[in-house]
């Protein structure tokens, strides 16, 4: 819950910037990186609810079909949590690869939902561009999230951050 409250303003600021100063720019998918970070680090019910909330926010802010992003982010949270039992996302390269894969999965899931809702989708190349940008910048963003999380955490937990 604390992490959700910490990352919520960051997500809202991201959406505000994305629709004003950086409209049309291929920005990294910050909510996806946050969800991925919460899933592999310390998966809990609060994390799943955060994934749903961030997805809902994404759809609400972008004017898209409500439920597409939250569907994708919740499943990515679950998948990242399961994969984190096998893979330790400790190095920047592995994190970048994990987030890149998650971004591709998100694009594929949203594509699937839109196709099921009878929306004709012609354009898929943006998914790859966004995934590459998100994956490339994910290690730096995760480092920032760790610092932000450590800054707001009670002192006794700071040493246990990974």
């Amino acid at each position: 819950m604390r992490e959700f409250l910490v990352f919520l303003p960051l997500t809202i600021a991201y959406f505000a910037l994305k629709s004003t100063l950086f409209a049309g720019f291929p920005l990294p998918d910050i909510p996806l990186i946050i969800v991925f970070y919460m899933a592999y680090r310390k998966a809990a019910v609060a994390g799943v609810l955060s994934a749903f909330a961030f997805g809902y926010l994404d759809d609400a802010f972008s004017g898209g079909i409500i439920g597409t992003s939250s569907f994708a982010l919740v499943l990515i949270f679950l998948a990242a949590h399961q994969v984190s039992r096998l893979v330790q996302f400790t190095s920047p390269g592995i994190r970048a690869g994990g987030v890149l894969a998650a971004a591709l999965v998100k694009g594929a899931l949203m594509y699937y939902v839109l196709t099921v809702t009878n929306v004709d989708v012609y354009f898929l190349s943006r998914v790859f561009l966004d995934a590459i940008v998100t994956g490339a910048l994910a290690p730096a963003v995760i480092t920032l999230l760790q610092k932000l999380n450590a800054f707001t955490a009670p002192h006794k937990f700071k040493d246990s951050e990974n």
Partner: protein, 281 residues
């Protein structure tokens, strides 16, 4: 008793997976049932209209302030003293010149908009674009007028160059507009030269697809496409775009026709929102 304990143990062990799957199903339910019901999430969107829109304005104001600080102070640092006065004068004149040019451009745009507005037989409200959302499959903009200014849902949004889209979510002070190029946009149109009817849909990028044109219909590259007035949202006779490409459709019955929108959304800053239903005219 033992079975109950096993069930409880199973739920406890897999609660994260179960909650995740339930939430995913709920999200899917929202997506599949709410695709045409834009009222879903109204409360949250209403809250955002009072938080994000001001946040967007603050960001733009900070950007303007940063630009002012840069142009008025930092850019002048390091200039030799003997040239200070002259340089400041030149910069001030340039800034004023730029400001006046910007004022002239704004004046020209507003004059054009007012002339266009006065030529229309509908009641319209002028609004400025304050946000763009060009996502993977979503094309929407946010304008700075809402229900307080008399704007309602599903009203046509136009510009002198052509149609822009239709109002999607109307809050008190802002309105989200679904652009004609969005995948969910459907507009009944007519080819001006031959009066062939069809439906223009967004292709999710910056183009339009003209659907339901039969192989026998006479449509050529360069033909102008206008609104037909059949949908009830857009009045008849508004410019939609120009036919740029015609191919034989995959089903051998309809043609695949691509249309270039008459208006580049990236180049307009103000729009007009129709306040009355087109049928009422």
């Amino acid at each position: 008793m033992r079975t109950e304990r096993n069930i409880y143990s199973f739920l406890r062990k897999n609660h994260l997976t179960i909650i995740s799957l339930l939430l995913a199903l709920f999200s899917l339910h929202l997506a599949l049932t709410g695709k045409r019901e834009f009222e879903r999430g109204y409360l949250l969107k209403e809250i955002f209209s009072y938080t994000l829109a001001p946040a967007g304005r603050v960001v733009l104001s900070v950007e303007d302030a940063a630009k002012d600080v840069w142009s008025d102070y930092i850019a002048l640092m390091g200039v030799k003293e003997e040239n200070d006065s002259l340089t400041k004068t030149v910069l001030a004149l340039r800034e004023e010149n730029n400001r006046l040019k910007e004022e002239i451009r704004l004046n020209e745009r507003l004059r054009s908009l007012v002339d266009y507005r006065e030529s229309l037989p509908y009641y319209t409200t002028g609004a400025a674009i304050i946000g763009f959302n060009m996502e993977r499959w979503t094309r929407t903009i946010v304008v700075d007028k809402g229900a307080d200014a008399g704007i309602m849902k599903d009203r046509a949004v136009i510009a002198p160059q052509g149609i822009v889209g239709r109002t999607l979510d109307v809050q008190g002070s802002t309105t989200r507009v679904l652009l004609a190029t969005d995948l969910r946009s459907n507009i009944d149109v007519i080819v001006e030269r031959t009066r062939v009817k069809g439906v223009v849909e967004g292709n999710g990028t910056d183009g339009l697809i003209l659907k339901y044109v039969r192989q026998v219909d006479d449509v050529q590259v360069g033909d102008q496409v206008m609104t037909s007035g059949l949908s009830g949202v857009f009045p008849k006779g508004l410019v939609v775009g120009e036919v740029t490409k015609i191919e034989k459709g995959g089903d051998n019955f309809f043609k695949h026709v691509e249309v270039r929108p008459s208006m580049d959304i990236g180049k307009i800053e103000e729009v007009l929102v129709l306040r009355e239903d087109a049928f009422h005219y």
